[in-house]
């Protein structure tokens, strides 16, 4: 809303210029951008190469200017440079205030609240946004119910009950980058076994059993309608899960039937510290596709947890050949996505034009009805 990056990564892995006018990918570690000539901060001053350099260098990127273009290099091995650039927001400090280039300007701020004002006032649209911080989500919901807040962007699906019958508020379903999935321990499961498991677990029954038949977890494309007959290992498969998704682990066990072994529930703090499992229920990133795929690059946290290494996948990622990387993951799967998480937001019923994706980016186009 206030700050913008040079580029944005779309869900399909494509790159869209934001403050950049043109982008040239040099390698996985380097890219060149040309700054938009009309890029300006909220006080009207032009964005300079120096502003970009200062902003990106604070995100541990190396920046240098060459003949009107900006060369950006990343020293990190596991994350492509464009993803780092997409997460680095351009800003300038002026008079103790951080200026951004987005549609909103920060006009007031303390440790409990922040006031943003739309730089171009459009009648019938949101002009001012006040972000309030609460100690607990419960407290935030209480303020929403009392009419002291208009939007609660993320709400526990169980708490949706509290909004039932309140005409002042409506529920909005927002896409989330996370999904519910099952990771395979590649040290204990062969490629064929993992392929069979992936086919077995992409079933409607498991999704409904674990997450209900509501719309809090939507089926991924290509979900199988009925259970497949597949060959599974003769031994019982050990399942690990976490307290907040224990039911997912139980449902996974029931889906495996006689092949299900013990279910181990680990505290979140133990993540990455145990490997004595065959299957692990977890919440991998599902979008954008670039970040989702990068999770399985050799050496990444998730890949290390399930001891997954695939040189062909690494090569495809380096080449930015996302389809090839996806094909490689599908043929040698370290995981399977059961469903994509759908976030729940509570919004004042008068507010329209709330986008299900890019929620915050859409605030400027929100209309307020009578």
């Amino acid at each position: 809303m206030v700050f913008e990056p040079l580029i944005r990564i779309e869900n399909d892995g494509g790159t869209t210029p934001v403050l950049a006018q043109r982008v040239e990918n040099l390698s996985a570690r380097a890219m060149r951008v040309w700054l938009r000539t009309d890029a300006a901060f909220s006080d009207g001053s032009a964005v300079t190469a120096a502003d970009v350099a200062r902003s990106l260098e604070s995100a541990a990127l190396k920046v240098s200017s060459e003949n009107g273009s900006i060369l950006i290099e990343s020293a990190e091995a596991t994350t492509p440079v464009e993803m780092r650039v997409a997460e680095a927001y351009v800003h300038r400090q002026h008079g103790g205030v951080e200026l951004g280039t987005g549609p909103f300007a920060l006009v007031e701020q303390d440790d409990r609240h922040m006031v943003l004002r739309n730089r171009t006032s459009v009648p019938g649209h949101v002009t001012t946004v006040t972000l309030n911080a609460y100690d607990t989500a419960q407290e935030a919901l209480g303020h929403l119910l009392q009419g002291e807040a208009d939007v609660l962007p993320q709400i526990n699906p169980r708490w949706v009950e509290f909004l039932d019958g309140i005409s002042r508020l409506r529920i909005a379903k927002l896409s989330s980058p996370l999904s519910n999935g099952v990771a395979f321990n590649t040290a204990r499961l062969s490629q064929a076994e993992r392929l069979n498991l992936a086919r077995l677990l992409r079933v409607r029954d498991l999704r409904i059993l674990a997450f209900g038949d509501g719309d809090d977890c939507s089926a991924p494309d290509g979900e199988l309608k009925e259970r497949q007959q597949v060959r599974l290992p003769e031994r019982k498969l050990e399942i690990s899960s976490f307290p907040n998704i224990e039911r997912f682990g139980l449902a996974l066990g029931r889906t495996l039937g006689e092949h299900a072994g013990d279910l181990h529930i680990h505290e979140p703090s133990e993540f990455g510290k145990f490997q004595d499992f065959d299957l692990l229920t977890f919440r991998p990133r599902a979008s954008p596709v670039t970040l989702a795929l990068e999770q399985w690059r050799t050496g990444a946290v998730l890949a290390s947890l399930v001891r997954y290494s695939n040189p062909r996948l690494d090569a495809a990622l380096n080449e930015r050949d996302w389809p090839a990387a996806q094909r490689e993951l599908a043929s040698d799967p370290p995981f399977v996505i059961v469903c994509n998480i759908v976030a729940t937001a509570a919004i004042d019923a008068r507010i329209r034009n709330v986008a299900s994706t890019q929620f915050w980016q859409s605030v400027g186009s929100w209309e307020v009805g009578p």
Partner: protein, 521 residues
């Protein structure tokens, strides 16, 4: 009083004597109806609260029954722990199911059960805790016996469904339900803004009443809620297994809308009936008065005709006799004929004058000040000639001070002269007629007293009615005294008579006196 005013008076009389009491009774009835409506609304809300409590109670009983069944079925099996854990997939409302023994880790022990309850559970008893809140939803710890000593199956029941049920109760358009625990903490609310108190635990307006009800103190049936509205409330207390108090509230204006609308309809009906009664009464009274007036006119015309016929007949008979005397051609009769004709002309003139008096209306706007002492002397002057003919004297007794009235001097003169002439005619030769004036506070009296034979008592009551004269020998058609009364009443006064047989009569005209001498501006 004209016919229109008489009709209005009669109609109002009907209204005040008949319709108004009925209306007042109806208003009292409507008030009772309103109170009855409130009692009925409270009773209905009580019934809904009782139904809600029964439903919630049944849900909790069902959960505990499921727990008992599971505990006895799998609690003693070797892989019971796993089966229990899997059972929570099919019965998510039972929460985390686990087998508890005396060696179980602290994390597996139900947090809200007392050590005594836990001991009771391990000895084969069924125990449960009060409700408490987990993740904003009500929950309850419960343990059911497995059948094996020292082993029990415990669960943390997820009672979110209860909250859901409470929230979904709707009464009318704005009525809702509230659920409290025995301390008065709000657990569930159908009203959206109150749900913030479910989250914060802050007491609401009804919390005190709910906590009091849990102690057996009756809860109020009408109260002021947190939104500053008057609400009617029905209450129910769920003691068996779930110490919840359910309040069903409905804004009073909505709850009593039916009764209020009935009251308005009835009130409008009563008002319309009142108007109809007045209109019908007015119309009917006018019609009736018109009939009566017509009848009265015919009767008056008849009486008048009878009197005129009688008197003119008498006059004709006399004129006939005079004609016969004249027909003799005897000059000796001429003086008698002349006297008789002069007398008859005088009589007929007075006859005509009497009728002429009847046609003159008293108009208060044209009244002028009249001083009664002077007026009495004026009457005396006018009557002296006639009195002298009959050998009667006329005297005046004045009031000590000037006595002013307002009136039509001509009409008053006609009235008093009439009484004076009657008094002279009734008086024997040598007696006197006394005109006396007096004043008492705001009233002035003018009395005409004779020393005649008096009037029989049975004639006094109808003396001022038309054609009631006993004197048919002169110009007396019986219009004199009625005309006197008409004139006096038109002046806002009254006329009365007292008579003693053998001693004479006293006619008294009473008129409103002026407080001071008038100014003749």
């Amino acid at each position: 009083m004209n016919r229109r005013r008489a009709a209005v008076t009669l109609a109002l009389l009907v209204v005040f004597s008949g319709v108004l009491p009925i209306t007042l009774l109806a208003a009292a009835g409507l008030q009772l109806l309103q109170r009855g409506g409130e009692r009925a609304s409270n009773a209905a809300l009580d019934a809904i609260a009782a139904q809600a409590v029964a439903r919630l109670s049944a849900y909790v009983a069902q959960q505990r029954e499921m727990l008992r069944t599971l505990a006895s079925a799998v609690g003693t099996e070797p892989d019971g722990a796993r089966k229990l854990r899997e059972a929570s997939l099919d019965a998510p409302s039972l929460g985390r199911l686990r087998i508890v023994t005396k060696d179980s880790p602290q994390a597996d022990l139900p947090a809200k059960l007392s050590p005594a309850q836990l001991a009771q559970a391990l000895n084969g008893g069924e125990v449960f805790s009060p409700t408490y809140t987990v993740d904003l939803a009500p929950a309850m710890d419960a343990c059911a016996p497995t059948g094996a000593p020292g082993k029990t199956v415990c669960a943390t029941l997820d009672l979110l469904e209860l909250q859901r049920q409470v929230q979904r109760i709707r009464v009318g358009r704005e009525g809702y339900a509230l659920a409290f625990d025995s301390t008065g903490r709000l657990i569930g609310a159908g009203e959206g803004a109150l749900r913030a108190s479910v989250l914060s635990g802050k007491p609401v307006a009804e919390s005190v009443a709910a906590a009091a009800l849990a102690r057996g103190v009756p809860a109020p049936r009408r109260l002021h809620n947190a939104e500053d509205r008057d609400v009617l409330a029905g209450w129910a207390f769920l003691q068996e297994g779930l110490d919840w108090i359910i309040a069903i509230e409905q804004p009073a204006d909505e709850a009593l809308r039916g009764a209020r609308e009935a009251l308005i309809v009835l009130g409008l009906g009563a008002f319309a009936t009142l108007l109809l009664s007045i209109s019908l009464g007015y119309a009917q009274a006018r019609k009736m008065l018109a009939g009566l007036e017509m009848e009265e006119r015919f009767r008056t015309a008849g009486q008048l005709a009878a009197g005129i016929t009688h008197d003119l007949g008498h006059r004709l008979a006399i004129l006939k006799q005079i004609e016969q005397l004249a027909a003799t051609g005897d000059p000796g009769y001429l003086p008698r004929i002349r006297e008789s004709l002069a007398a008859e002309v005088g009589t007929i003139r007075r006859f005509v004058a009497d009728f002429s008096d009847l046609t003159r209306e008293a108009k208060p706007a044209e009244f002028t000040p009249v001083e009664l002492n002077a007026f009495a002397h004026s009457i005396q002057e006018n009557a002296l000639a006639y009195a002298a003919e009959t050998g009667v004297s006329v005297e005046v007794k004045s009031a000590p001070a000037s006595t002013w009235i307002r009136g039509d001097r001509f009409l008053l003169e006609r009235a008093v002269l009439n009484l004076t002439r009657n008094a002279i005619e009734a008086s024997p030769r040598g007696s006197r007629v006394l005109l006396s004036v007096s004043r008492d506070e705001d009233l002035a009296d003018l009395q005409v007293e004779d020393q005649g034979t008096g009037i029989a008592a049975d004639r006094l009551s109808g003396l001022f009615e038309s054609f009631n004269s006993t004197k048919r020998t002169g110009a007396h058609v019986g219009m004199g005294l009625p005309n006197v009364r008409r004139i006096v009443i038109a002046h806002g006064g009254s006329v009365s008579v007292k008579s003693t047989m053998g001693k004479g009569s006293v006619f008294t005209i009473t008129l409103p006196a002026q407080s001071s001498s008038p100014s003749f501006s």
